[in-house]
Amino acid sequence: MPAQSWSSIPAPSITQSPETEVLRLLSFSLFLATWWIAALFVGGAKLPSPPAVLNVIIAEASSGALFLHLGATLARVALAFVLAMSLGSAIGYLMGRVKLADRLGDPWLILLLNLPALVVIVLAYIWAGLTEAAAIAAIAINKLPTAIVTLREGTRALDRSLDEMATVFAMPRWRAFRHVVLPQLAPYIAASARSGLSLVWKIVLVAELLGRPNGVGFEIGVAFQLFDTPRLLAYSLTFAAVVLVIETLLVQPFEARATRWRPRAA
């Protein structure tokens, strides 16, 4: 009997079991079904059915426009993300380590944290013109403060006793940073990348809508002006799919790797 009661305890699903796959598929079909039924009630002009949207996606893909716009958006996301993460991590680390930097930077941080994305984007376009640099800078500035805050917290939480260990054993700075400090910051970097990426996904479209001649945001703007719902959905859904793929293939494995030494939570 005890053997049976053991086996009835569900094992923690770290790896993707077949059951999770089935559940995901089920959840996706449910979403499609709801959409389709809703489309039947509301009518094609406001909510086109899944096949109608799929047709637009195929048409845009075969003309190459879809990839052009997606590519432009992804490039902006990548640049702004890398810029904001590296700058934000460095500033956050500095503010966590040096009291003076923290005192000086804090008012700016609070300002940036609470500044609406739209203000930053519009100001960037006014000051730097409707340029690529302005768009990327505006997106990066929106993501910067959250990266700073997260990394500052991470730096404040660093284990002093391990720092002392590194000092006593006279570890060179870079080795101590790489093996003592960085692993402690890794979960914070992962968390900040996670939340930062989702923020960038949202803001990049606004920046494109307001001042770029290409990208998913630009296309959505055009679709909005024409009230072209199939086109709007075609671009939004493809974009969402790309985001999903990047999150599962890139961000989650990185997170898992960064925390692999931790005892697994059941």
Binding site: S161, E164, T167, V168, F169, A170, R175, H179, P183, W261
Partner: protein, 246 residues
């Protein structure tokens, strides 16, 4: 090589703004090849003294003279291993130049061979302490500092580890500073014992043990221990220094 400690005082300001005297004037010196033992009640300021000697705490009055090129090996009270690095990596990070033969020898003496690739989170306290010891010896230190390396281990395990430390300490000449509140550690491992007072710590008595460490059998150790206990009880932590314990 010689370590000279001359602390004239250390005060600590609490969050409430009161100043506490942690250390009274303390001075002693340690030669290469010599094991000094600081014995004192918990909370008397031993760890503060160590932090000052190691250069981690510079906010004190007095001077610490140790050769600037002296390599330090340290065993902290808590093992202070890097949880995200394996046992072997933990040791190699502190001692990047160590040869495979030396490392194997250390792991053999400390019975860690089976745990090389384990992470510290997978080890018992006893094993984690052994890794901390391996790391300290791996750097081939000129100054070895052991801060209660056997605390909160059961007697049998503490006894075994004490013998392993004795073997390693005897294997090369270095200045060793052991902090403990166990008389057993002191009489097995020490050459000169410094008895400390409660906070603010000062040296109550300095007791050299004349029988060399290697020549101390169980009978000698028991005799030295009995003598020390008698003295401590007789003098009630008295202040007469310099009498030979053996």
């Amino acid at each position: 090589m010689r370590l000279e400690v001359d602390i004239s005082g250390k005060t600590f300001r609490s969050a409430a703004g009161e100043t506490h005297e942690v250390l009274a004037p303390v001075s002693f010196a340690l030669q290469s090849g010599e094991v000094g033992v600081l014995i004192g009640p918990s909370g008397c300021g031993k760890s503060t003294m160590l932090r000052i000697i190691l250069g981690l705490d510079r906010d004190f009055h007095g001077t610490i003279a140790r050769p600037p090129e002296a390599r330090i090996g340290m065993v902290f009270q808590e093992p202070r291993l890097l949880p995200w690095r394996s046992v072997e990596q933990n040791v190699r990070l502190a001692a990047p130049g160590i040869s495979e033969a030396k490392l194997s020898e250390l792991f053999r003496i400390l019975e860690l061979e089976a745990h090389r690739s384990h992470f510290p989170g997978e080890l018992s306290l006893g094993l984690a302490r052994r890794v901390a010891l391996a790391r300290a010896f791996a750097v081939e230190p000129d100054l070895l500092v052991l801060d209660e390396p056997l605390a909160s281990l059961d007697d049998a395990l503490a006894g075994r580890l004490r013998d392993e430390i004795a073997t390693l300490v005897a294997s090369r000449p270095m200045m060793t500073l052991l902090v403990t509140h166990s008389l057993d550690d002191a009489v097995r491992l020490g050459d000169r014992l410094f008895f400390l007072s409660p906070q603010p710590a000062r040296i109550l008595a300095e007791v050299p043990i004349s029988i060399p460490r290697g020549a101390r059998g169980d009978a000698e150790i028991a005799a030295i221990r009995a003598d020390l206990v008698a003295r401590i009880q007789g003098e009630h932590g008295g202040e007469h220094a310099g009498r030979d314990a053996s």
